[in-house]
Amino acid sequence: MSSRARSLVALTVTTAALTACTAPGTGGSTGGDEADSDRLVLADAYEPELFNPVTGHGETGYSRVYDGLVRLTGGSAGIPELEPSLATELPRGNADATEWTVPLREGVTFSDGTTFDAADVAATYAAVLDPASASPIAGSYAMVDSVEAVDPQTVVFRLAYPYVPFPSKLLLGIAPAEALATPGPAEASPLNTAPIGTGPYVLAERQGDQTVFRANPDHWDGAPEVEELVVVYVPDDNTRAQRMASGEFDGTTLPPLLAETLADDEGLTVVGHPSADWRGVALPAGDPVTGDPAVRLALNAAVDRDAIVESVLGGHGEAASTFVPAVFGEFTDPSAVFTHDPDEARRLLDEAGWVPGPDGVRVRDGQRAEFTVMYFPEDTLRRDLAQAFASDALAVGVEVDLEAVDRPQFRPRIPVDGSLLGGGDVPYDPDTQLYAALHSSFTADGVGGPFDNPSDYRNPTVDAALDRARRSTDQAERVADYREVQRQLVADPPAVVLVFLEHVYVMKDDGWTGTEPVLEPHSHGVSWGPWWNLRDWRRDG
């Protein structure tokens, strides 16, 4: 059957090539081909967000129109390194990591012609933290106590508590102080649609479903060679795949199985980027079924992670036993894994007193081994993962009732019901990957968000290791602590972590070099993928 799909696609491509010949010069410039070749058209599954750092744009370092104080470097297989961007060198912390001094680059101008200095940095962070802005990312910067522009080229961050991974918080884009002068909701800021940044690109226009970026000729790091970038918003996966196949786009993001249908096409390459983006089932500690450590261990043994990676993800992903992916290098403990063993799962359940009932579902003291797992209805991947999990659980006598629940109803039910969750929002340090997911301080009411420690997991050993590691400046010590955490996670699992996703992209081979893999965070789209470092792309030959 897939051959049929391929012939359809092949047909589409041929005809598209013909149409392209009959309608040349859509770029409308005299140097037709030349102009087209310095331009990329990408299709994104996500609507163009608000181009305002205060509303969260570019928080993890992907903005094209803004520069942060630091930026990511790619190429390595592990956690991306940071390099100075608007800073002239990497920030230095004081001995207890509570005060960070950042020297700034001179002679940088914003796209409106004004000069960048320390006041802009202070203003941007102040706006994020100002309650009047109602910034949705304020919580991620809770450790920042104050930001001071010591002189035009130096800024000092003072933290409320020691925080070693702080440099990753400096990826946030910097907007001019003038644009942030009036306090008020970030939602109403003109920056949302008319950004003013120092980045390698400027927003040229937003029309209908298209967003056009042009290279910033005055960028401090040199103007990018890809002169124009058009991002088209095409929410539907299938439409995007079809239009990609017809040659309309230079690249797009696709679910793995759909991307595979394009893999054999001439001139198209399917690219997978590793991510720390996990999917798993949180098991609330308060529930009589999921709160039983035996049930948690049994479920972890019951799921066939390799089969899920193979059939649900089409091979684009990795089985995950804990929240720490292999790309974290020495931080990862290779022994902290679960193996697929349904018989072991049954044995664990038998031992704990869960005996099979008349309908095959186990019972203990009148309590059926049954619980609910919620997932977001619009996310087909989570739907499939939830279905696969429920099917595997049923095979060992645990009944999982699936429920598609929207975010608002989801929130209050997280401590009560199981939920298919994802994470790995800021994977540049084990701390941001693990702390909020596991630390017991987040079980208290009103601390953090509901997504923090969703299972209400309490493990004093884990708590102690997490706290030590975030304050420690000694790498070996941190490695030991994070390995300890992972050993705890397989002995006393808070969840059934299933997979790390590989984010899959399709790109047209049009003669550019400079693509580098990078570890991607939870959010994705064409801001990431092969195009995350578009600024460094060079024309081949």
Partner: protein
Amino acid sequence: MADRRLRAGVVLLVLLAGYALLVPWLAGVDDRVTDFAAARQGPSWAHLFGTDSAGRDLFVRTAAGLRVSLFIAVVCALLSVLIGALVGALSAAAGGWVDRLTMRVVDGVNAVPHLLLGIVLVALFRGSLVAIIASIALTHWTQVARIVRAEVLSLRDREHVDAALLGGATRWRVVRRHLLPAALPQALVAAVLLLPHAVWHESTLSFLGLGLPPHAASLGTLLQEARSSLLLGGWWTLVFPALGLVLATLAVAAIGAALRDRAALPERAGAQL
């Protein structure tokens, strides 16, 4: 002509209903068991309609979806008739400004496109069956109200009603004893005419991702899934559920049209639903 249409419609509907009710029961397959390794297989003897993206048999799943969709449609149609008949009868019986006001309300509800109202209601109370049913029933009663009101108005002028009124019966009693029973057949025909629209409405909402949860089987969720399977070559995921939807619509529409002709309702009663 009308009889032949009626017979054809009934036969088709009985076949579809039999398929929808019996197949999932006979197959005895647990809906929760997935086999992703067997996903998206084309039609074969083992799987007449092929398999879906989770490796489930589509012959069984289409039947299950048809069952859910027909059930929702019937409940919605009955609810609409209940609301519509009550409002129409009361409005006609009361007459005067109550009648005029009621008819304005009917106009008002009609002025908002049904799907828009449905989308708003379902989006705001997402994921609940009650919201889906309410959103369909609350937007479709107006036609029934009109038909019943017109029927009651025309009956009111007849002699036995005059006689009853002269005999000292209260208005409401006249409505209940004479007018409503007489208007009931018309209302039921209207219910049948509503059915295809209710089936559509449910499938449309589910298709837009606002109706039933995606792991549940309904014609709308199956078609939504088909959208993503099409490019993977899974034509059968579109064809069979769509066929079920179209055949069900045709069957019910044929029955409705035949009944409408018998009841001598205006043509528009069906067209504007």
